[in-house]
């Protein structure tokens, strides 16, 4: 087994994949705690479908380096979805549901109508479940992923105390003059960035798992916000690494293997919580 792994390690794309996968897992877990606690988990899911639609459009328009197109579209949708929370005709979760299934349908429709690929269902499957895209990243995409990941982590650390305040009690934060809208916007934009990054790793359907599972697992074990956040990041990275190694050695799809490891970790954490009581 170790031999197989060492054999794979010689390929640069495997090393890229492990590095980028680790960084993406780290980023996606950080905001998970906030999203779960703010009852925003569904926004991640909605946005991932938007990212799928945008990828389809990018494919049809044959825009090279489609992350540069998908990223702004997803960020824009994140901002719009957050805005609809207040004073819109279609409220919160309904708006998210509408946008997400809409993007999914239009994306698939466009792919069907205009795709030049001979293996359409293979393409769709790859975008939805990210089967191998982490292994086929260009070097420029690796650097883009790495740069954005570092930016996300830096932003999170810089705004950690304010994110905590806004997550725990929006009204109190607003009353003492914290710009709650600004931070909600920041959260939405960062989530959109994370989703586009994570699409490479697990595909658009499975992104939510990457965001919420580590947070939920960590919340079983730790009682402080800081503890939950750190544990969530560590768990996410460990699960992603384990998942990728299993996938590479065992030849299973990367995305679903990582999510399966995340689920296993959650079950272990829940069991520990249960037996502690």
């Amino acid at each position: 087994m170790i031999e197989t792994f060492l054999q794979y390690w010689q390929f640069p794309f495997v090393r890229y994949a492990l590095a980028v996968g680790t960084l993406i897992a780290l980023c996606s877990s950080l905001l998970g705690v906030t999203l779960v606690l703010k009852r925003f988990s569904f926004i991640g899911d909605g946005l991932s479908h938007v990212a799928f639609g945008a990828t389809a459009i990018a494919g049809v328009l044959r825009i090279g380096g489609d992350m540069l197109f998908v990223m702004p579209v997803t960020v824009l949708c994140a901002i719009l979805l957050l805005r609809t929370g207040r004073g819109a005709k279609v409220k919160g979760d309904a708006a998210v549901a509408m946008v997400s299934v809409g993007a999914l349908a239009i994306g698939y429709l466009l792919l069907n109508l205009f795709s030049s690929s001979t293996n359409l269902s293979g393409d769709v499957c790859a975008t939805l479940f990210g089967s191998t895209s982490i292994l086929t990243l260009q070097q420029s995409e690796v650097w883009l992923c790495a740069g954005l990941s570092v930016a996300v982590v830096a932003l999170f650390i810089l705004f950690y105390n304010r994110l905590f305040a806004v997550t725990f009690d929006e009204d109190f934060a607003r009353a003492v003059g914290t710009g709650v809208e600004r931070y909600n916007l920041l959260i939405a934009v960062v989530v959109a960035v994370i989703i586009v990054l994570a699409m490479n790793l697990v595909g658009s359907l499975l992104i939510s798992a990457l965001i919420i599972f580590p947070a939920l697992s960590a919340m079983r074990l730790f009682r402080s916000f800081k503890g939950v956040t750190i544990c969530s990041a560590a768990l996410s990275v460990a699960c992603a690494l384990a998942g990728m190694l299993i996938a590479i050695v065992g030849g299973t799809p990367v995305g679903s293997t990582i999510v399966a490891v995340d689920i296993a970790a959650f079950i272990v954490c829940a069991a520990i919580e249960h037996f502690r009581k």
Partner: protein, 233 residues
């Protein structure tokens, strides 16, 4: 000079006014209780004073060097908070968020302030405990300590004793009285008209005919008499 003056205030959502023509002023050291039936607009009034929503008409003026973001706020707890994984210290420290300014992290003096306010609320030994594992009364004390970190001048309390048993309610009232004695101005929304009349210096009765004045004047007023009779029967 009053800390807060409301002139001909109208409050409500969008263009629908719940309450109009509210006049009152709160001086430093006052203990104002806002009473009225459910749905009369007590919480809306409080949210408007905190700047969480705009007044439909009229004005709220802040005097005596008080800024709108210098009001300590004790909100009613939400479901999210009851289940929130955070330590008591993390929560109290978040009361210092306005002191952060452009800094990213809390300073030593912020931490000292948080610890001092925890001790003031009799919760000094609880700093490392998990918030969601505390009793209702202990949680209220933690949130009160957080409000004190935001200000030493004026505290707004939204139904601070709702859901607490009689003994804990009495303790909570005693803590609030103690703050008022120390010079903190108190504005409290309350269902508990008996306690309000016994403890407050002023009463603002909203819903129907608006009354604002001292407790003694309230006892003599038609609103006060009617409301107190209703409660005692």
């Amino acid at each position: 000079m009053p800390l807060i003056t409301c002139r001909d205030l109208a409050i409500g959502y969008e263009s629908h006014a719940i309450l109009e023509h509210i006049h009152f002023a709160v001086d430093p050291g006052d203990y104002l209780c806002v009473v009225g039936e459910n749905g009369s607009g007590k919480s809306t009034l409080m949210r408007t004073m905190l700047g969480l929503q705009r007044p439909l008409a009229g004005a709220i003026e802040f005097g005596d060097d008080l800024r709108q973001n210098e009001i300590g706020y004790l909100p009613q707890q939400t479901a999210i908070q009851r289940d929130f994984p955070a330590t008591v210290r993390e929560i109290v420290l978040s009361g210092c968020q306005a002191r952060l300014g452009r800094r990213a992290f809390y300073s030593r003096s912020d931490r000292a302030l948080a610890d001092a306010n925890l001790a003031r609320m009799g919760m000094a030994g609880f700093a490392g405990r998990c918030y969601r594992e505390l009793s209702g009364g202990q949680q209220q004390r933690v949130l009160l300590a957080r409000a004190l970190c935001a200000t030493g001048k004026l505290i707004l309390l939204d139904e601070p004793v709702s859901g607490l048993d009689p003994k804990v309610t009495a303790e909570m009232y005693a803590l609030i009285d103690g703050l008022n004695v120390d010079g903190v101005t108190i504005i409290m929304i309350s269902h508990d008209i008996d306690a309000a009349v016994r403890r407050a210096s002023h009463i603002l009765h909203i819903g129907g005919e608006v009354f604002f004045g001292t407790v003694d004047a309230y006892r003599q007023s038609p609103q006060g008499r009617r409301f107190m009779e209703e409660v005692s029967t």
